[in-house]
Symmetry: C2
Subunit: 446 residues, 2 copies
Amino acid sequence: MRVVVIGGAAMGMGVVAKLMRLDPTIEIVVFQKNDYVSLGACGIPYFIGNKFSDSNIMLARKVSDFENNKVKVFTNTIVEKIDFEKKQVFGKNNLRTIAENYDKLVIATGGTPITPDVISQKYENCYTVNSKEDAEEIKRALPLAKNIVIIGAGLIGLEVAENISHSTSAQISIIEKGQRPLANLFDSEFTDLIEDELQKNQVNLIKNSEVIEIKTIKNKISEVILKDNTKLKCDLLICSIGIRPNTDFLIGSELKLNNRNAIIIDKTGLTNLADVYSGGDCVQTFGRTYDNPTYTPLATVASKHATIVAENICGAKKEFSGTLNTAIVKVFALELARTGDNLQFLENNKVSYQEVFIKDKDHTNYLPGQENLYLKIYKDKQKNTLINAQMAGYNNAVLRIHSLISLIWTQTNLTSGINEIDLPYAPPFSRTKDIINIALGKIAEK
Amino acid sequence: MRVVVIGGAAMGMGVVAKLMRLDPTIEIVVFQKNDYVSLGACGIPYFIGNKFSDSNIMLARKVSDFENNKVKVFTNTIVEKIDFEKKQVFGKNNLRTIAENYDKLVIATGGTPITPDVISQKYENCYTVNSKEDAEEIKRALPLAKNIVIIGAGLIGLEVAENISHSTSAQISIIEKGQRPLANLFDSEFTDLIEDELQKNQVNLIKNSEVIEIKTIKNKISEVILKDNTKLKCDLLICSIGIRPNTDFLIGSELKLNNRNAIIIDKTGLTNLADVYSGGDCVQTFGRTYDNPTYTPLATVASKHATIVAENICGAKKEFSGTLNTAIVKVFALELARTGDNLQFLENNKVSYQEVFIKDKDHTNYLPGQENLYLKIYKDKQKNTLINAQMAGYNNAVLRIHSLISLIWTQTNLTSGINEIDLPYAPPFSRTKDIINIALGKIAEK
């Protein structure tokens, strides 16, 4: 069997690594746009912030690791066309065209950072946060920058802001279109904490705003102008307003995309075309609780898709179990974690819900380092199951969201005994009655 | 209604506090042996270790808090007899006898520390770790002690050893009868880590040993002699070999005790006698997974018993959901958590099990502070559910055991998708594939 994989990140190389283990006789060919594979792009904010200095550390595996196992990897090669009928993929490497036949095809082209409309061309000091090259260039540009503007207060924008602030004394501004940072992940009780934390650390968050104009000198941006006419000096502009499926080359082909150009797959990872699989940041996947289609470009999802696709190529019939859109993020000292369908989803889908919000402490008052701990949970009133949990706290205390993730994952009925769930207690770790037990007791009664 | 409560710790005052909220018309009388109530005894090791200086901080509530709410509290009063027929409790306060009638009785006398047979009388420099007075005396004795001997490497013994070591330069020895510290809670992969941690911190753990003789000068212990004839100088002896139900005054009465003198209750907290309830460290309770009788003297269990008993006194029919014997402990930098029935239980009850042990890391390699993380899980092969989980790690990383506790609690079937459970990932918190996902994948395949 001959498998062609387009894309060399978490999904693509995840499939390859799993295939190698499942069946060493499979011929594998990879097309990869960069000269490296297996970039853990989640590391970029930390690399930029000088937590480590060698960008290659972000590469989970090297090209040679695969080549030594007889995987053919075409690096610096962009796929321009697929002939699904003849089962042939056409890549371009410099001016050379490479054509490869497949028995099974895996499209793992991932996502492309979205750039705001106002950035209509490539500027020397304007970056997205997606590739090793971006990361290296931002890091080189940093020491000279006095005014840094980040567009987008999402996970990446916030991580970049924090990490940059540790390694420069530049003024950092984040321009957010919405009313709150991370508005699609956290309710206002939590985003208020983020805003406080940013302010405490001199990061200038400007909400309800947009860059509507840029001033440039030569090919560099020198100033951004916001919609209320505020002018911000800018030596370095970082765009982190999200990603979209990297599927432009598939538009108009037989391969079915959704209305946002994400590839439509079933739970086995199969597209509408026989022998063509996909997964990761270029697909529409499934929500765990309501089985709804969702676009969830997360490394954890890509890694699970990779395993399932590889197993199914080898004859299994595994199905993806769904995503809760679980996320965790550190914003300076503040840590936030969340899981499950958000309020907007619940309202759009007319889910009848109840919520409980609790502010408590992470451990006993008589030990040093006691910190605030915040928890919000939602239940589906009709199903009587948990559907969403959000936490904020310090020093890894939010890891106890794990218990709620399991309860949501298993769609456990909120019977009256649920608040007795036997969670660990010792003075350095929790209070006798943990915030989770308290919240479960309250929501079960509602 | 008139409720008499014997015992003023977590269980007793937990019942009182809940009753006060549920029905302010209830007359409540408390008999308490100390002059305080609501001691959080789990704080004692930390108080001894100078993490805080006012022992009253360990009191969750004051006697006056209850008296102001019309609760009659007899402090320094020991109950000597109960006339279950006449529904009367007799307490002794100095030489005065107090008799109180009840409609409902709650026996919440808790546990008494076990002292080794070799300690046949009270010595001036020999303590258990159970009361505020013990704690204060140990703390006073510490600065003068050059050689401290702790008998018993259980949770309390280890916590005391660590905390003492932070505040003195004395030589600390722990004498453990068994082959391993915490042998009833953790397998050897974990207790080996504890032993390493103790050694690294100059705590002398002597296993498979026992104090068989003591030398005294006046009323003070000066030396302990172990069974292999090793002699250890001793200025301060702390006994932490466990607790037993504090039920001596009930032996021979109509109240049913088990063969270890724990009060037998049903899941509602009712004893064999009408209108007599009990809970906490003086009762035999129930295991969650196999519904087996178990003695589990933990603050978390007592607190849950208290709530249920109070609700049932007021007419509810709540049942205790069972314990997993969940525990967490910090031994110097090392943190350990565990939940579920232990190996000995599984073997005694001929449960057919599979286990998986994994050593991994707590977060991405490119961020500072990456530490080892250890996980062992057991499944019941017949039921195909998880039954035990043990973790060790650093910096609160073991809190992710929460996910496994929920899976054990809900007796979730280990289907093939269980390893996809959507746990949070970001570089400071985990690796893309968390140790929990890895372990669940492996155990589901077994």
